[in-house]
Amino acid sequence: MIEYIWLVPLLPLIGFLLIAFNFKRFQGSVSGIIASSAIFVSFIISLIVFIEIYSSKQTATVQLFHWIKFNKIDISFSFLIDQLSTLMLMIITGVGFLIHVYSIGYMKGDSGFNRFFSYMNLFVFFMLLLVLGSNYLIMFIGWEGVGLCSYLLIGFWFKKHENNNAAKKAFIMNRIGDLGFLLGIFMLYYYFGTLNFNGIFFQAHMFTIGNPTITIITLLLFVGAIGKSAQIPLFTWLPDAMAGPTPVSALIHAATMVTAGIYMIARSNVLFVLSPITLLIIAIVGITTALLAGGIAIFQTDIKKVLAYSTVSQLGFMFLALGVGAFTGAMFHLTTHAFFKALLFLAAGSVIHALNGEQDIRKMGGLKNKIPITFFTFLIGTIAISGIPPFSGFFSKDMILIGAFEANSIFWIIAVIVSLMTTFYMFRLLYIVFWKRSNKEDLHAHESPKNMTIPLMILAVLSVLAGAFGIPLVFGGNDIIGNFLSPIFTESTNIIKINAHEISHNTELLLMFIPVIFVFVVVYLAYYVYVKQKKLPEADNQKRPFFSNIFFKKLYFDEIYNALFVKPALWLSDFLHNIIELKVIDRMVNQAGNLVVWTGKTIRYIQTGNVGFYLFAMVISIILILIFKLFI
């Protein structure tokens, strides 16, 4: 089946083309069904490939065709199928399929229904390309493609001006990161002479640890990852991206696209371990982002914004894992996060759907009994993300925490704090949205249709069970995911482990249980504050305490960027436009254009239409050529 891997990205592409070309023709949910079934077949193929890879422990490169070939450059359009990419395939097609099915219900009746599904399929296509590509260029195509689709989908309801601004913001922020990524690719090509993963990683052995070239390359790649995965300082686009439809937030801004940065670094782990400085920077950026985003999340009042900051925070967590060399942990958390964050977003979408588009949590409450399925699945998602055993989040977070402890105990402490913050804001959200507050009249709400709730349930089951793949050795588990991914990471992990200290089993158990105890304390704290005291977040215009205000205002990141970059850039572009462009360049260009047009008009006249003249001109030309070539 591996040789048919090209079908996996092809099917969503066909789905996209099919819908795009019958844009006006498809009625009802036809396009949704086409899109979903395309992803579903892709998922089945991915599953078969995954099982093959899992059982045979082989990797394969499927070459489709030579793409660019001249001089020494030989870039082929080929796919790399190994443990890492198949794992990603499973997440993208699996979660993607569920979200597609969910969207059929969620987007029902929207005037852009067909457009929505064409974009979604296109997105999945590019995401699969990103993951499957066997060289950085294919990856870059996918990388840019998902950026494009993200832009299209954030601005999906383009009639609202803010949505367009959010889309532009996401696009521009990503562009900054992409520049870094692109420069990284250029440098890789310059130093390695190839862009193939295998070729580069093979040659990487020739570089010593701490080589400055590698450091610069990895830093540039990391800049790309920062943009795509919304880390400090380029994270501000992700919360704004919530302007798109909720399934988009679930698919793109929680489960798949934003994890591209993680995937890219995990894929390039061989390079990154050669540069301890980069790894340290990654860890610091990751943990800082996690901390700040967690802080902001606590003070948000929009249900999707809370989840968005939570995503930023969790992504920071994954970067921490990458930074400390716990690559398996990062990928494991990526997987479980994809499940429970998609679940949370979709459940949030279901809440919004139930309340006819209301997103402000201050206007919610007491939904527990009215939309029980949504509540129950949301609860499972909350428990999973909070890291309460035996839900999946516990195991994946634990893997990262252990990794952090092995590297540096300060990381561990901050990570635990972040993890507690996660618990707090998630339970805060849960209590405010679903628990009843007496002083409010009953909200009118209705449960979502089946095709929305069934994906929720499936995701809920996955959120509970996914942890089983990563039960650590201390619990008698056999760390399935670790073994599965080991061919990719072993080498790198060995390099990292030289510096790290082994920890004993007892320490490990201790490290596991301290956070769990605190988690329960925090859950109670949230219960006390938001259920017992019935405390509600203040209205927007109300004065807040200084500290809370800073976080509520998202640490003023947007304002700072505005003053630091946007305003000077606008001034500069004003100057360039008014003086350089209009007065200098335009005039030159216009004159050049006029000259060309004038010559064109003049030269036309030699075409007289008179055969005699033609023959005469030919003879004169021949004679002139003969004279000049033979006699002068």
Binding site: F65, F77, I603, V611, Y614, M618, I622, I625, L626, L630
Partner: protein
């Protein structure tokens, strides 16, 4: 060789079926015949044979270009159904002439002897003369035929004179023999030989419509029936450039220093004049005629540089040029059928009414203009890089400037189609098959843009 024999049989069969008034079998017969010929041609891949005392050389170059020519003819025939839909009589004479000129073109890509080159050129040209005038009661068509004939025979005269001079000096018509003569007498080649070369080059330059021997092209292309224009501007050009390449690569490579100046003069003049004249045209057909002229200039790059990749790049450029031109002409035919003129004004708002056709036209125009990732871009890019590798920086600079100018006029129809409001035109009704064909051909252009390595690697 297979291809020539089979095609001759096909042409005679076509005439036969035409004469017994079986109109409906003609096109299916020709199309299936062309497919068979294509395969007959391709199965010879990799073999190197020569026939009749090296009159014919069947090598990979020949097979590749033959395949390209057959493909182009096939596409033209596909679109001929629409063009001639109002004609009642079987058009076997026109079809047979098209097939005969294809045979001429194939001969031009496979000659081993300059007399064979001459025969190929004549077979091609004489068919073209008649085809150009095949709209018997149209003055423009008659004028085109006569102009083409007059100037064409004139150029053929020079070509033949040049061949005679070369024969007179070297004592042979055989390409290899002439080459050996050049190698043996490198220092003492008489001037008359060079004069012969110049005259042969002039004849070839006329055939590919290189400036200053291009005068016939705009008038003939504008006057001829549109389908025939599409055919002439692709088959004629591809075959002639293949012949030119073959002539120089086998025979005149050792006196290339001498030829380079002339060829560069041709190329530069062609690009400048072709692009500048195309710019101010309001008539789509005439604009494409000039575009064909300017493309000859780019094609000459490969011959001037004569690098290891010249042949492959030439092939790729030829195919992408031919497909884009045919796509454009297919749409032009349609618009002209419905709206009566070739004026750009007729394309206003076409995108709204006929999105498929407009899309195909846009793809063709963008490919010709060299917008990535379409085939035209890859073709131009590769041909420039061939010239670059040969060290002809100035040539590339002229080429790039010409390309920039060309964007101006290639985008005009796109702007008219997509950004202008249609004034009084109705939607153009066509058959679904025609739409699909146009779409497929334009998609072929896109696909081709991703496979330059494959095509260039062939040769």
């Amino acid at each position: 060789m297979n291809a020539i024999i089979a095609l001759s049989a096909l042409a005679i069969l076509t005439m036969f079926f035409g004469v017994i008034q079986k109109k409906s079998v003609l096109l299916p017969l020709i199309l299936s015949g062309l497919i068979i010929v294509f395969f007959l041609n391709v199965i010879e891949w990799g073999t190197f044979k020569h026939y009749y005392n090296e009159m014919f050389i069947a090598d990979n170059f020949n097979i590749a270009f033959t395949a390209a020519l057959i493909l182009t003819t096939f596409l033209v025939f596909i679109f001929s159904a629409l063009y001639y839909r109002t004609v009642k009589r079987p058009l076997e004479d026109i079809y047979a002439l098209m097939l005969f000129s294809l045979i001429g073109g194939i001969t031009m890509a496979s000659f081993g002897n300059i007399t064979m080159l001459f025969i190929g050129i004549e077979t091609l040209s004489i068919s073209f003369y008649i085809l150009a005038g095949s709209k018997k009661f149209d003055v423009a068509s008659n004028e085109a035929a006569l102009k083409y004939f007059l100037t064409g025979t004139f150029a053929t005269g020079f070509l033949l004179f040049g061949m005679a001079l070369i024969y007179g000096v070297s004592g042979s018509f055989n390409l290899q023999a002439i080459n050996s003569y050049i190698i043996a007498n490198k220092e003492s080649i008489p001037t008359l030989f060079y004069a012969g070369m110049i005259l042969v080059f002039v004849g070839m330059a006329f055939k590919i419509a290189a400036v200053p021997f291009h005068f016939w092209a705009p008038d003939v292309y504008t006057g001829s029936p549109t389908l025939i224009t599409a055919f002439m501007s692709t088959i004629g050009k591809v075959a002639s450039i293949a012949a030119f390449y073959r002539l120089i690569s086998i025979t005149f490579l050792n006196v290339h220093d001498f030829s380079v100046d002339i060829l560069m003069l041709f190329a530069i003049a062609t690009i400048i004049v072709g692009n500048l004249s195309a710019m101010t045209q309001d008539n789509m057909k005439r604009m494409l005629a000039y575009s064909g002229i300017s493309n000859s200039g780019y094609l000459l790059f490969a011959i001037i540089a004569m690098g290891p990749k010249s042949a492959g790049t030439l092939l790729y450029f030829s195919i992408s040029y031919a497909i884009a031109t045919i796509t454009a002409f297919a749409v032009i035919m349609l618009v002209r059928e419905e709206r009566g003129t070739f004026s750009l004004q007729d394309y206003k708002g076409l995108a709204k009414q006929n999105p498929v056709e407009a899309f195909a036209m846009a793809v063709a125009m963008m490919s010709l203009a060299g917008i990535p990732p379409l085939a035209g871009f890859m073709a131009k890019y590769n041909i420039f890089s061939v010239a670059m590798n040969g060290g002809y920086v100035w040539l590339v600079i002229v080429g790039v400037i010409g390309s920039m100018i060309s964007v101006f006029y290639y985008f005009k129809p796109i702007i008219y189609m997509y950004f202008h409001r249609a004034d009084a035109h109705k939607k153009i009704e066509t058959t679904k098959a025609y739409k699909i064909h146009i779409l497929l051909v334009s998609i072929l252009l896109i696909i081709l843009g991703f496979l330059p390595g494959l095509v260039i690697g062939l040769l």
